[in-house]
Amino acid sequence: MSIITNSIFSPELAARFDKLVTLYPVKRSALIPMLLYAQDEVGYISEAVVQEIAKRLDLFDLDVRSVLSYYSMLRTKPAGKFNIQVCTNISCMLRGGYEILDHCKAKLGIGHKQVTPDGHFSLEEVECIGACCWAPAMQVNYDFHEELTPAKVDEVLADYASRKAGK
């Protein structure tokens, strides 16, 4: 049984969190994974997420917000269902990363950190994602897409456009 009654998370995630806090010598160590997993489910870190996580870890809301503001993957506003993250760091830049970013902007009609009106896609220019030898690369949510060309981006985007929702 969850220590929290009326959890805002799904029973599966609540159970996962109950276990997660027991793994570490100090409960607070679970904070960053919890924030990320909560974001995966809720879509962003809402005030309710901050409050429940703080409660689960015996922290002040402020402690959670202070950590939340540090990590670039954590967001306090919803992104698209599919968040397109295009790397433009050095290895990707040399092999056309900016071309890929501009192609995504034109194709989706949105800029950096913007969301399409239907909420299906969002776009971000990101720093190195660790796919340097398969550049240029991007991530859609957590999935890597590598050795991109504008034509390959079109295929990838068309695939996600046809998906209803999900991760």
Binding site: Y70, S91, L94, C132, C133
Partner: protein
């Protein structure tokens, strides 16, 4: 999916199990997996730590994260007895631009990291290890989590591992959430303790006061993954593969303007020229080489006439740069160094955690100044200003991020000063890669 590459010049140790489905525990075991850790245990509890550490020392293995500290020595610094629990922390927060080797290790051979973590733990007398992966590597975290779960199911982890009474070892996997700075070992510990990833002052070093205040060994994932191979083949045998004081092999990620980018395993001390022209297949499209960033974005650039150097920590140091994380980024003749320098500092400015003022302000002012130069508003004194700013960041911060930003900047402005001067006079070298829209973003310093 990362495309695996190979080349006849490679010396295969770490890559031995790649492409063979070794993420599956039975496959890993069939390929001599979990044999090294059992060999160590077979030495008996008394002799085991000394045997592991002596073998690691003899191997000449130096930290693959970038600093190149001898691994065996690092493990030997951990006090034998400690009132607080000891820990092993594996740094898989791979974020140095140009570096993607740990990505492939986690994907192709996750059990080598699990086994290496156990070996490090047995060497220092820890009962718990953490494997920390950057948040972007979620699919890899899933692979590593399954590897850990499978090892528990076999009785290789948990209580009485391998059936040895009283021998316990647990591994917890952890995800980050996007922060380059967390790749720095003390910031990594802060992050694992659930805090903002800001660095701690040293001393005390983690080997004495680390995670949760206990003695902690922190190693890069590649370093840890090397340990089982070293125990199996023998320290001196591993050392003999490399160069003087630089034992063994390491993974080099060759990226940028080469015909065959990829992660290759080469002997330490291997020629940088051959790495680019033979292993990497030469410059893409038959163009000329302009420069190389030899070990991840933080390493000072080498000009095309400076690549006759061996890829080890000492030779690269003598050449005025660093071996770093082994990420070799190749720039052809079309690259504008002014633009490349700007893109590099833009990264460090974005990633500076803001804890130390020289880094927080220095990266910002260098970026602002180089942006002005890039957007045709530069003056010659801007080059001196950039150099002055970078020189005053060096060594004045808690962690090496300040140095990591200053060193490549100094490399660019010193080695390509003429190109900066010409640029300011309107004679621009190279073809721009950042697009107009991005220039607006740069001008607004928005990221």
């Amino acid at each position: 999916m990362p495309r695996l590459v190979s080349h006849p010049e490679e010396a295969i140790v770490l890559k031995r199990r790649w492409g063979q489905g070794a993420a599956d525990i039975d496959k890993y075991i069939a390929l001599d997996g979990y044999k090294a850790v059992q060999n160590a245990i077979a030495k008996g509890m008394e002799a085991m730590p000394g045997w592991i550490i002596d073998t690691m020392k003899a191997s000449g293995l130096r930290g693959r994260g970038g600093a190149g500290f001898p691994t065996g020595m690092k493990w030997s610094f951990v006090p034998k007895t400690s009132p607080k629990p000891k820990y092993v922390l594996v740094n898989g927060d791979e974020s140095e631009p140009g570096t993607c080797k740990d990505h492939v290790i986690f994907r192709e051979d996750p059990h080598s990291v699990v086994e290496g973590t156990m070996i490090a733990g047995l060497a220092i007398g820890a009962k718990m290890g953490f494997i920390y992966l950057r948040g972007e590597y979620r699919y890899l975290l899933n692979i590593v989590e399954k590897a850990v779960a499978d090892a528990y199911a076999k009785g290789f982890l948990g209580k009485n591992i391998f059936g040895v009474e009283g021998l316990d070892f647990d591994i917890v996997t952890q995800t980050g959430a996007g922060a380059y700075e967390v790749g720095e070992e003390s910031a990594l510990m802060e992050s694992l303790e659930g805090k903002r990833g800001v660095p701690r002052i040293k001393p005390p070093f983690p080997a004495v006061v680390g995670l949760y205040g206990g003695p902690t060994v922190i190693n890069n994932a590649e370093t840890i993954a090397s340990a089982p191979h070293i125990l199996l083949m023998g320290g001196p045998e591993y050392a003999a593969l490399g160069s003087e004081r630089n034992g063994g092999t390491r993974l080099f990620g060759i990226s940028g303007h080469v015909e065959r980018p990829g992660v290759y395993e080469l002997p330490m001390g291997y020629s940088l020229r051959k790495a680019i022209y033979e292993v990497g297949g030469g410059i893409k499209g038959g163009k000329q080489l302009k420069a190389v960033v030899p070990g991840g974005a933080s390493c000072p650039v080498l000009r095309a006439d400076e690549i006759d150097v061996g890829l080890d920590f000492d030779q690269m140091g003598k050449a005025g740069t660093m071996l770093g994380s082994g990420g070799i980024v190749v720039l052809d003749e079309t690259v504008s160094i002014v633009e490349f320098a700007l893109r590099t500092i833009k990264f460090y400015q974005h990633e500076s955690c803001g804890w130390c003022i020289p880094c927080r302000e220095g990266t910002d002012w260098i970026k602002k100044t180089l942006t002005r130069v890039y957007l045709d508003g530069g003056q010659k004194k801007d080059i001196d200003n950039v150099q002055y700013l970078a020189e005053n960041m060096m060594g004045r911060t808690f962690c090496p991020l300040g140095d990591a930003a200053a060193m490549p900047t100094l490399g660019f402005v010193k080695k390509f000063r003429k190109e900066f001067e010409d640029y300011i006079e309107g004679k621009k070298a190279g073809t721009p890669l950042m697009t107009t829209e991005s220039e607006h973003e740069l001008a607004g310093a928005a990221h």
